[in-house]
Amino acid sequence: MKARVTKNRARRELLVEQVVRASRERVWDSWTRPERISRWWGPMGCTTTVYAMDVRPGGVWHYCIRPAPPATDEWWCRAVYEEVTRPSLLVYTDAFSDARGTVKPGTGMPTRVEFAERPSGRTKITIVTRFPTVKDLDAAEERGMVQGFIEMFERLASDLAGGARDG
């Protein structure tokens, strides 16, 4: 089943809804265990390596996304968990960082993931993720940073599209 995505550009929010054929517990594990999340966090063609994952309020999830060789890019991210209610709710703020886990200012994306039981052993996943606020974007340098991310993601998207036939 394809994910349903609703964009609210004025609120700077992305709502992602997906129903999967797996129990809530399995989906929860897929999201909260390093060896499981690195199998799908992607994006496609990229490898995710988890360096820390401490799933409890205040705990840190530090990971790196690397595209397939020969590309040598590294996208480091560091998230901090805020709410952890197994197996139904996960709230964290994901941000870009460096290899040491120093977060780049203005890049935090509050993310809320809900897991709801559906009939016949299915689970509905609802993700709401929000982009930086005016406060985060106060400094011109930080605004430049966001612009940098747009470019980075566009490059990433076109890297991924390379080989696929969408012009």
């Binding site: 994910a3 989906v27 992607g42 982009f131 993601f153 998207a157």
Partner: protein, 113 residues
């Protein structure tokens, strides 16, 4: 116009409401103020910020000055959101695939990777 500036301008709630009002089409400042119960100078101030951020533009239509949304600003915002949309869609596909592969006591039809 950068998406970051547009995002910054839109993160103020009144300006967000102005944009919502303008979705219905361009309007004069007095009309915008009335709909949002703002004083006109307040509305003008917000419109100035929005227009500096490239979100709205002022057009002269007949004798009126109308404020309307600028399509360009939203194209930039869209491309910003689209990158995330794409990443999340792929992520969800990956998750679904992984869950299928790990599916307990379901016949493993020697599917090659």
């Amino acid at each position: 116009m950068s998406a970051a500036r547009a995002l910054a301008a839109l993160s103020e709630p009144t300006r967000f409401r102005i944009v919502e009002v303008l979705r219905g089409g361009p309007r004069p400042v007095g009309d915008i103020a009335r709909r949002l119960r703002l004083r006109q100078p307040q509305a003008s101030k917000h419109l100035r910020v929005l227009s500096e951020a490239g979100v709205v533009e002022r057009r002269a239509v007949a004798q009126q000055r109308l404020y309307g949304l600028r399509e360009d600003a939203f194209r930039d915002l869209d491309s910003w959101l689209r990158t995330f949309e794409r990443i999340w869609c792929e992520r969800m596909e990956g998750l679904e695939r992984t869950l299928e592969e790990e599916r307990p006591r379901k016949r493993k039809a020697g599917r090659s990777k």
